[in-house]
Symmetry: C2
Subunit: 454 residues, 2 copies
Amino acid sequence: MYSEKVSSLLARKGIKIGDRIRLNARGSMFEGRLMPRPDAGSGDVIIIKLDNGYNVGIGMEGDAPVAIDKLQDSVITTSFSNASASRSAKNIAANSAKVELLYTGGTIGSKVDYVTGGVYMLTKPEELMYEVPELGSIASINVRHLMSVASEDISYREWQAIARNVADAFNCGARGVVITHGTDTMHYTSAALSFMLKDLKGPVVITGAQRSSDRGSSDGFMNLICSVHFAARGTIPEVGICMHGDTSDEYCNFIRGTKARKMHTSRRDAFRPVNSTPLARIGTDGSIAYSNDVTVQNNAKDIKDMKTTAKEAFEPKVALVKAHPDSDPDIIRYYSGKGYRGIIIEGTGLGHAPVSTPHKEYNWLENIKQAAGSGVVIGITSQCLYGRVDSSVYRNARLMADAGAVYCEDMLPEVAYVKLGFLLGNYGSEEAAKLLPVNIAGEITKRSEVDWFV
Amino acid sequence: MYSEKVSSLLARKGIKIGDRIRLNARGSMFEGRLMPRPDAGSGDVIIIKLDNGYNVGIGMEGDAPVAIDKLQDSVITTSFSNASASRSAKNIAANSAKVELLYTGGTIGSKVDYVTGGVYMLTKPEELMYEVPELGSIASINVRHLMSVASEDISYREWQAIARNVADAFNCGARGVVITHGTDTMHYTSAALSFMLKDLKGPVVITGAQRSSDRGSSDGFMNLICSVHFAARGTIPEVGICMHGDTSDEYCNFIRGTKARKMHTSRRDAFRPVNSTPLARIGTDGSIAYSNDVTVQNNAKDIKDMKTTAKEAFEPKVALVKAHPDSDPDIIRYYSGKGYRGIIIEGTGLGHAPVSTPHKEYNWLENIKQAAGSGVVIGITSQCLYGRVDSSVYRNARLMADAGAVYCEDMLPEVAYVKLGFLLGNYGSEEAAKLLPVNIAGEITKRSEVDWFV
């Protein structure tokens, strides 16, 4: 909301949010789209987004504009709704694919506060759409404001809500779904949705931003554009993460939801496939190149008659622990004692824990045996992340397998953790242990390729 | 030890272990080095290592050799000792650099048992030297058999023993030290030695193998050759890991001990620098190429008068825990209650834990505040591994820093864990918290370079 002074100036000129305007100020001409004003109480400032992606704020005092003109109406052609509004189609571009955009929060919906310098989260995701009006020419987009949560605060309850909404969207005619999400735990959510959603009618594309939207280096707009392209036309009916493929701003990767991992704290190309290749590469121009071995959507099947379902039961009493030098095996007993039904161990190398150490207090074997014996599902993954665990090479791993630990092939530790929560939510412990090392949603591959490494 | 039948045959021919022999059997000629026989009770078999790296076993029964001849004496020129033997110099190549080889166990000292198919560990590390006699032409090597432990079973007590022996070796005239070690926790040990050892007179080169020594694809011999080259002539007086740089068998990398990580369960080039580049590249021919920004040994300083010391005190009551969706913050209270003095949290993204979640049972903030308030040092790293944590960008991280958590820059979680154990072993908690985010042994860099990523 702009200040009264600015609002009345804009009203006189017939300028609305999103319109393209030209502004003569500070002895220069500024041309771009009028942005919404994020904070009401910080003075008389007009904010426009320049074509180079940067936002500038032009004050009404010292450097007041000597002229301000509207060049073009807002080109936003998308319809908006929020969680409480009806889902009735208000699409303007009637012939284009219907894409549901589920907004959950995160950096893609964050902005720098021009007064405090801090980052705050948008309360109205529609603001996001004002900044990328070109989305309207790609698809007919319905925005739903599900929640505004930083992804590190997301829990399985949010996964369930998202899964339900994705299923609803497909069953109400969406061709694809885009989910905007914080990047911190995006790969946990992508894994959860991969397991929970059945009979997808189209792609579920999770995207976000590593830099907030008013930084010149922001990746959010491009990620969103590539994601909507893929939701509208991509032929892989799976859950995946769509983020920058490298730092060139030329393409995004679509990475399988159970094979993706955030591998860098700040780079725009932080998301990488682990023990996999990207399933597709999407250019900013909408071009899509597919990897050789992906399931392409079965068009023979009558998608209209399919019903997407969300199998959302989840057991949160699953732990993820790391075995390492001097790690205390009592952690297994601690979680068993708290009623935990599953524990994923990030072992070393091929999936080892200290089990032949001469130092008794560090020996994990007895604790693993006791927990497994009492029905706790113990899964073994590797903290190496890349590669596959194997209980057949060294004695220590064979001892662990004999004690009842389940070796999880080439599954990422985080994915095994999410999968075990999903399995224990839907099945008994014995069945869950049986299904843990069996591929359900692309999380396990039979054979590793040589180029699946950093 | 060979069977009596084989032993007497070899004695008649004047053939000893390590000699080059030719054997006519099964209608073919086999030429190679005579290997020691690993297991006494498994029949009359002669084992020779062919020039292609494979071992073959020739039985004395059906396919008995029709001829066996010695071609050349063993070319092993190194001296051997074991932990109980005296350290007196028995070096044959008097002019070459003295390199101490500390044997601790692991795959590099393992072999497939020809009877059971399992992998077992050598009890006599000298056997390793028989297989790589060319080491003797690179340096004058003294082998010490410190222990035979799989690296997943190693604890801080083994780190202390290794550190003491490294210091002793330098103070007794070694130019460099090579440590053979299992690969699973090699990077934990390299970090521990980096912190424990002061005033190194030369390189401490940790090496091992991803494949056991009688597999054709074994990497151990080449890793050992490159490591001895670097210990004998390398000019970086630091602890580092020397393993395959890629899969070409052409060179090894020397990676700083506090910046290395095993990133693949089985590849020979599994070890990668994280938030760093390799310090040097060592060709199998002994060529050494240095990275641009390494400390080259100060030759002006009189190394002879220096004394290498091992600051070996270590506090094992430090935990390494991961924050993730639905992770239970009670884990902080659990470790505090057990008398743990430090906890390293592998946070998400820039170093976050769930601290603004609406689900109270998953909120980590109060537990962090309580533990930090009672003197437990809480360090924050990122499970992304690559990149740097930062408490200034998002509110959740600011809340955590305000609660007393220490942000650990671009330190790997495992390295922060080892460092905190080292600091708490040597300093009070306040001093340890102060030193945790300060560079001591190359574990923290001021600035990240663009190419420091996968």
